[in-house]
């Protein structure tokens, strides 16, 4: 029996990262509390190395390996590069926060990197098993990260909820996958697509499977009505972890949706389109309306995430290249905005003070007008006010929705954005119109200061010149799907 070794080239970044995680774990055993920065630097180096590897294999081709279970295409490359940038920024932003809260440990770095590896596998999966493998690697790392502060009641409670509901959703997903497998006899996404196209398959079983898969997906995206975990987890988790949960995994979840629904079950578009419409409208409604009532900024941002996911799903509803690329553009814009907003929350918090009440933003303009300005940019971008990137993301989604003929859906989306504008404006109001409650100095490290400034400026520069990112999204979708 001949053993043909698989072509490892498409998976080099994943393999490299796995090796690096092991190195970080081992090295961390030998460095003391004082030299913890070694783990930090090694983690950043790991991400940099992955970025170089991904960059060096950039091509417009789609290459499969491991008997077609793993795929490397332009969409995967772009999403992975975004994941590296996001995770690296998360590490920079959260360093000060975790070190005063006793979480600056080897576990933190290895969990972050394992979660990153999970996302990368999800992004590159072309087989039910690899998808599930990546998803679970990500989810299990996240559960553990939320519980990293063992002594904190809120965090433990959040981790518990997250775990129970997450396991349930994974169960849904597996059940749906098994139905599809039962109906088609295939696990490869492309072969499932072929089998469905073949036509002689019991449609009813497929649809039941699809329902479960969509339910699992919406849980991972935190789309209503499967959103209930998000506010509690966002609120309970340490802010640095919330930042992580709220940002990079959404990129992976987007890839997950694209692989399952478009690549695998693209033939059943008529079936899932209707489900996505319901998810999108409910998410925008619940997210935007519930956010108004929140006084905890992390909870508010959780609901805002839910509404953003509704918008992202709207792009998928259009079910054409135009719509998919607008959703990809949207998710990238969303991640940039989330990073910046949480970075400010992290900056405002200090030892023994979480700064997660919206009133903690009071008078920020008087305390530091530059950070207030950056926060304002983030809020306006989330509200979809030009010339911030959030507007162009919304514009491309709305355009896709209208071109697919859903005029009413576009109007609904616009009305909910109006409601959404209110709570983003409230943050601007607190920062600019009110007097500060404290005059504690805001003293971030130089790297945080630089990165948050770049992040804020990127929101407006990418808005003024959206062509590059829009073109990239379209290219990624066109050459991958």
């Amino acid at each position: 029996m001949n053993f043909i070794p698989p072509d490892l080239a498409p998976a080099y970044p994943e393999i490299f990262l796995l090796v690096m995680v092991c190195i970080v774990m081992l090295a961390d055993l030998f460095v003391g509390e004082k030299r913890r920065y070694v783990s930090y630097i090694l983690s950043q180096a790991a991400l940099l190395g992955c970025a170089i590897l991904t960059f060096s294999t950039l091509s417009s081709d789609v290459s499969y390996t491991f008997s077609g279970m793993f795929v490397d295409d332009p969409m995967a490359d772009i999403l992975k590069l975004m994941v590296y940038i996001t995770v690296a920024s998360v590490l920079v932003y959260s360093r000060a926060y975790i070190s005063v809260r006793g979480m600056y440990t080897g576990e933190f770095f290895s969990l972050v990197l394992f979660a990153t590896l999970g996302m990368m596998v999800m992004i590159s999966a072309s087989h039910f098993l690899t998808l599930y493998l990546g998803l679970e690697l990500l989810s299990l790392s996240l559960y553990a990260m939320v519980a990293l502060r063992r002594e904190n009641v809120l965090a433990t409670e959040a981790a518990m909820k997250f775990f129970v509901l997450g396991a349930l959703a994974s169960g849904f997903l597996l059940y749906g996958m098994s139905m599809v497998y039962g109906a088609t006899g295939e696990l490869h996404l492309s072969q499932i697509a072929d089998a469905i196209r073949g036509g002689d398959i019991d449609h009813q079983i497929l649809v039941i499977g699809l329902v479960f898969i969509v339910a699992g997906i919406s849980f991972k995206l935190s789309a209503a009505p499967f959103h209930m975990w998000a506010p509690d987890v966002y609120h309970g988790a340490p802010t640095a972890i919330t930042l992580f949960i709220g940002s990079a995994p959404k990129l992976a979840a987007f890839a997950f949706v694209m692989r399952l629904l478009v690549e695998g079950m693209g033939e059943m578009v008529a079936d899932w389109q209707g489900m996505l419409v319901i998810l999108a409208v409910m998410s925008m409604a619940i997210g935007n309306i519930a956010a108004i009532a929140q006084t905890n900024i992390k909870r508010m941002l959780a609901y805002s995430t839910i509404s953003h996911m509704g918008f992202l799903i709207l792009g998928l509803v259009a079910a054409n290249w135009n719509g998919y690329s607008s959703a990809l553009f949207y998710v990238i814009a969303y991640v940039l905005m989330t990073l910046g907003t949480f970075a400010i929350i992290l900056m405002l918090s200090r030892e023994g003070f979480e700064s997660d009440h919206i009133n903690d933003f009071k008078g920020l303009n008087k305390r530091n007008s530059w950070y207030a300005f950056i926060t304002m940019l983030m809020m306006l971008s989330m509200a979809g006010i030009p010339p911030m990137i959030g507007f162009y993301a919304k514009l491309s989604v709305l355009q896709a929705v209208l071109s697919a003929g859903y005029i009413w859906l576009a109007i609904v989306a616009v009305l909910f954005s109006l409601i959404g504008a209110f709570y983003y404006l409230r943050i601007i109001k607190l920062m600019y119109f009110d007097e500060p409650e404290t005059d504690a100095p805001i003293l971030p490290n130089i790297d945080v200061k630089m990165l948050v400034s770049v992040n804020g400026i990127a929101i407006i520069i990418l808005g003024l010149f959206p062509q590059a990112l829009m073109g990239l999204s379209l290219y990624a979708i066109e050459s991958s799907m």
Binding site: I385, P386, V414, L425, K429, P466, M470, G471
Partner: protein, 494 residues
């Protein structure tokens, strides 16, 4: 084009760039520097706008000073600028008002001076962008961006109830403009992927979409004008805004709504505009008559002027939907003249407010005894507000009434009641504030206008009288454009 310079880009970006520079001067220790840079920037903004008038060819009805560069190809969006006889005077009005506002806030604003001055400069550039954009997305970007500086100006430097007023202002305007965005995207679909406003002018459309688009545009522009019944945000915003904010709001931002009707509603959906003109005229007449009566009952000076603004803007929308040259040109003149007069009225109230810190009419009386020079200026502007012949207020109203007579006598009759109501509320205000015995210890200690205030009021007085006596330089530049617009609207697009 002067020396091949992209004049329109300069008019937009010079104020914005200098505004950012002013913001960068930082906290109030450097306030004098911020004031001087802001003044230089606003005057520079006005100077670069002057060639737009001198180099303008009034015989052409097409767009002039055109600049067109690709912005993002994905949606065929262009950085496309150009002006005609409708937008050019509005840009000049804006560039003219900004230095006055900076001057008016010179001593009065003591807190966060750099941010105040910077906000006005940035706003000035953005508004120029609104008037000069020929691409729908570019227009929308400027349109929305103009909300933010005003939101901050009202919210940070405003009066007691400023937060409510600022948020109301923002959300009201946002609602209208989001529906306009949907209309733009719809037009993008039916025009096979173009966001060019000029393409939309030529686009044939059936009547049902025309009516829907008209309604979407109407919500956006009616909120901004503001027309009855979506006017309620304006009195709140005016009362709470600082003097400079009120001036820009009344003189410039309201004109964005009027401009929207001329650039979008009338030429893009002419059949719907004709079809619904009865409704528009009715709404305008309600604004003129009913809001005029409301103004009569106000006890707050700023509120009174705010309601009078709404009534005057009713004339503007009335003129648009008469579909004849008198009405349209009269409406244009009325917009510009209202820009000067409302600015002057709010500045006069600002002068009083800075001294007494009250906007209540009852707190004044006998001001003429203490401030004779001010009383003279206020008299002139009050007369102009009432539409006295010889002032700019008369020209516009008279032309619109002439236009209305041609369509229907009763329209003209109702519109003409404004000459009575307008005179009544303005002169009664004047009488209660300026004449009579000194009834109040606060009035006893009043000092007359300073040199700075005198300069501002004198400049505006000259403008008001000049348009009143010799409006030709103003109407000359818009003739060709207005004729072209009327010819365009008369053609069915069905």
């Amino acid at each position: 084009m002067l020396f091949g310079l992209p004049l329109l880009s300069l008019v937009i970006w010079i104020p914005i760039a200098i505004g950012l520079l002013v913001l960068a001067t930082g906290d109030d220790r450097k306030a004098p520097v911020a004031r001087i840079i802001a003044m230089v920037g606003s005057v520079l903004g006005f100077l670069v706008a002057i060639p737009l008038y001198t180099q303008f060819d009034p015989a052409l009805s097409s767009m002039q000073f055109v600049e067109k560069h690709s912005w993002f190809e994905r949606f065929n969006v262009y950085y496309h600028l150009g002006i005609d006889g409708i937008s050019m005077p509005l840009i000049l009005l804006n560039c003219f008002t900004t230095p006055l506002v900076i001057m008016a806030g010179w001593e009065v604003i003591k807190e966060r001076v750099a941010q105040y001055m910077g906000a006005f400069l940035i706003m000035s550039g953005i508004v120029n962008g609104v008037f000069a954009s020929l691409d729908a997305i570019l227009f929308y970007t400027f349109w929305e961006a103009s909300l933010l500086p005003m939101f901050l100006i009202i919210g940070v430097w405003g009066g007691a109830n400023r937060v409510y007023a600022a948020i109301k202002f923002f959300l009201y305007t946002l609602l209208g403009s989001l529906l306009m965005l949907i209309a733009f995207i719809y037009l993008y679909q039916v025009s096979d992927g173009s966001f060019s406003i000029l393409d939309y002018h030529k686009l044939p459309l059936p009547i049902e979409p025309q009516i829907l688009i008209f309604i979407a545009f109407l919500l956006a522009f009616a909120v901004k004008v503001p027309m009855w019944p979506v006017h309620t945000w304006l009195p709140d915003a005016h009362v709470e805004a600082p003097t400079g904010g009120s001036v820009i709001l009344a003189a410039i931002l309201l004109k964005m709504g009027g401009y929207g009707f001329l650039r979008f509603s009338l030429p893009i959906v002419p059949d719907a505009s004709q079809y619904l003109s009865g409704m528009m005229i009715a709404l305008s007449l309600i604004a003129i008559v009913y809001i005029g009566l409301v103004a009569l009952m106000q006890v707050d000076m700023k509120k009174l002027i705010a309601y009078s603004s709404i009534a005057h803007m009713g004339f503007v929308t009335l003129g648009f939907f008469l579909f004849n040259a008198y009405g349209l040109e009269g409406a244009m003149v009325q917009m510009l003249s209202h820009g000067f007069i409302s600015a002057a009225m709010f500045l006069c109230i600002g002068v009083l407010y800075d001294r007494v810190h009250s906007r209540q009419i009852a707190d004044y009386g006998g001001v003429a005894n203490k401030m004779p020079v001010f009383a003279a200026f206020f008299m002139l502007f009050a007369m102009a507000n009432a539409g006295l012949p010889g002032t700019s207020g008369f020209v516009g109203e008279f032309m619109v009434i002439m236009g209305a007579v041609k369509v229907n006598f009763w329209y003209a009759f109702l519109a003409a009641t404004t000459l009575i109501f307008g005179a009544a509320y303005t002169l009664w205000l004047y009488k209660r504030v300026i004449f009579g015995e000194v009834a109040n210890p606060a009035v006893e200690g009043l000092k007359d206008v300073s040199k700075r205030e005198f300069a501002i009021l004198a400049i505006l007085a000259i403008a008001v009288l000049w348009i009143g006596v010799y409006p030709f330089p103003l109407t000359e530049v818009m003739h060709a454009t207005v004729d072209e617009l009327l010819a365009h609207v008369a053609q069915s697009k069905l």
